[in-house]
Symmetry: C2
């Protein structure tokens, strides 16, 4: 017997048939003797419609009213799923965020969960009832409904699992787990049985979009064992767990890529203190996120700087730097948006040398030029010409022996 939180996303509850399918999955866990709580998202498409209505009335709408409107999506799903569960003999009841309550801060539209009062839900689960809890929403200190931002239901599920002291948080989605890389690019990509929180964070933020990043951070902090699995197929998914639970650590767990980056190069900048601040300060003020940063070795009193920003932010970033030309005093500004970032990720590299050099060798063998390199404790990332994205991912997937047999 285990205590499990099951979370189902929008595509898993998109219509009545799929809601019935979810209900039968929940029943199976209940019949197996488990204590189960369920977290659901809005039926797919519903939230977009609600957001469009708010924007249609006023692009600069009151976030508190926005939350009142969009939180209805999950409210509909919890009621419908409770009805579907009761219809097949599973005792169930719906819980809105304010009823649990799931207390959040006051940041309407992107609130953070602060506390979940789990005692009543635990009592009911022990008595055989399945709580069906609305994801994505909570109750703010102003006694109004808050929402957590898009994808927030994953975070709701992990936070609930922590509050209920659940043995596992199963996130049902439209993929069946976390892969060594994107299976659309590498046919031999393998589904991982286990991955560590740290690796998952790098995989997620680097483009393998399976779970909301914040939910993984929370799982890591609260030590919640998370499983990602398919709501349409019937097989185990990928467990996201503490590094210590992974006995056989692969040196590299996976290869991630991102085509969302653009490269900015500033040449012949006076090599003196305060230059980096003069460049990146104004970008931060404009909420432009800077990812990779590399500075050339100084020569003849000047240096060069290369960094990446999101493709969508490139124009604003360039305008910001041009506006500060006098302060920075650079000679040349270049940019390119035909770049891709390729990363190899694995906690095993902490204890293994030669991970980076194997990467550079594999790329060199395919004649792929490396434009920028950055490293962290558990990943190495390179920027390459976007046209080589698939080639690079495939080469690295083979080089680290990740290909399925």
């Amino acid at each position: 017997m285990a205590r499990i939180v099951m979370k189902f996303g929008g595509t898993s509850v998109a219509d009545l048939d799929r809601i019935r399918n979810v209900a039968s999955r929940v029943k199976r866990e209940v019949d197996a003797g488990n204590e189960v709580a369920v977290v659901v998202s809005a039926m797919s498409g519903v939230t977009n419609q609600l957001v469009a209505w708010c924007n249609g009335l006023s692009p600069l709408h009151d976030a508190r009213e926005y939350d009142t409107v969009v939180a209805t999506g999950e409210q509909v799903t919890i009621g419908l799923l409770a009805i579907a569960l009761q219809a097949i003999g599973v005792e169930a009841r719906s819980w809105q965020g304010w009823q649990v309550p799931i207390r959040t801060d006051n940041a309407h539209g992107k609130a953070r969960i602060e506390a979940i009062e789990g005692a009543e839900l635990i009592r009911r689960m022990q008595a055989g009832q399945v709580p069906v809890v609305a994801g994505f929403q909570g109750l703010g200190p102003d006694n109004r409904v808050t929402t957590l931002g898009r994808g927030g239901s994953d975070t709701s599920a992990v936070a609930l699992a922590a509050a209920l002291k659940a043995d596992r948080c199963d996130i049902y989605t439209d993929v069946d787990g976390v892969y060594t890389t994107d299976p659309r690019i590498v046919a031999k990509a393998r589904k991982l049985d286990k991955i560590s929180y740290e690796e998952m964070l790098e995989m997620a933020s680097l483009g393998a979009k399976v779970l909301q990043t914040r939910s993984v951070e929370l799982a890591m902090k609260e030590r919640v064992r998370v499983q990602v699995l398919s709501s349409f197929e019937d097989k185990p998914g990928t467990l996201i767990v503490d590094e210590d639970e992974i006995v056989e650590k692969a040196i590299v767990a996976g290869i991630a890529y991102s085509r969302d980056e653009a490269k900015v190069t500033i040449r012949r900048v006076p090599d003196r203190p305060g230059i980096a601040a003069a460049i990146f300060g104004p970008l931060a003020e404009k909420s432009i996120h800077v990812d990779m940063i590399v500075q050339d070795v100084s020569a003849d009193g000047t240096t060069g700087l290369t960094f990446t920003v999101g493709k969508a932010d490139l124009k604003r970033a360039l305008a910001s730097i041009e506006a500060a030309q006098k302060t920075i005093g650079y000679a040349e500004l270049q940019s390119a948006d035909n770049v891709a970032k390729i990363s190899v990720i694995g906690v095993g590299m902490r204890s293994h040398a030669g991970v980076a050099s194997r990467m550079f060798k594999a790329l060199a063998e395919k004649g792929i030029n490396i434009q920028v390199i950055t490293t962290s404790e558990i990943k190495v990332s390179v920027l390459v010409d976007e046209a080589y994205t698939e080639l690079a991912v495939r080469a690295l997937h083979s080089a680290y022996e990740l290909d399925a047999a």
Copy 2:
């Protein structure tokens, strides 16, 4: 300066343009110096969709979950209207039933309002804020969302007006007021400036479906002055007020009709005590509502009984009586569903004789046979062949001098 509750139904908030239209109507009242609270229904069509989903999963669904689902319709509208009001410079905020709170009993799906805590809303109105309150919903003693039954938003508005001690409750709808009769039948039907609660109750329950009956009962009990007016046109509607406020009482305020009735006749029933109970007891147990009842004068120890039920209930009513044939001991059972009930209504008939006879004379002049007659203090109703409905209504409208000049 007055304190006004404005209520807008589903067709008045059916899309973003109409919500903007509602916002500008509210702004006009605010600009005129009034304190305003608004009650809204779900966007038209939304509630039907939500109900269909519940029924699709289980025809015998948990009413508490049904309430959770269908209450979202109004929740969407309050948020959107608050946004629309803010966009044109009106300070506004949305209130769900549980936030006010609007306390109801525990009868999920058809709950009754028990108390509304109005102090906080009054404080905000006095400070210039417009509360936008979800109609149709409340908070049950189990801390769950309740709904009031279809059309319940009218009742929400009247109850809120009572709690806020409002000077008036304006119900905006797709008709521009209460007419002396159905304008689709009588082109010369006149809009009434004022009608008493009692008359309105008879008009509403007899088929002039403008307001939910319960809302009129509540308005009468709480002495809330209600105005029915169009949300699409810009002119005064009909005031529903205490009889004493109506100085020039017409003898007859209006003519109502209903085609929803069916007639049942039981012939040659033994004329002894307990027969009526043997007939109507089983009908009541089956929740079959009986309207007009007439008993013949006894002859040769037997009597005859005629009564009407809703057309939809006719088959069940006949089956019930047939099942009790032995107990009742009747000789003959007949029924007809091609009947219509025509009623003349007016508080003036309390002090005027001859109202009924004028009715009978007018119908006789058109050759319309009267099948059943019932009377109350402020109305006279007759059952006639359905084919004569329009003719009868027109004849009576002229006979009581209700035709517009």
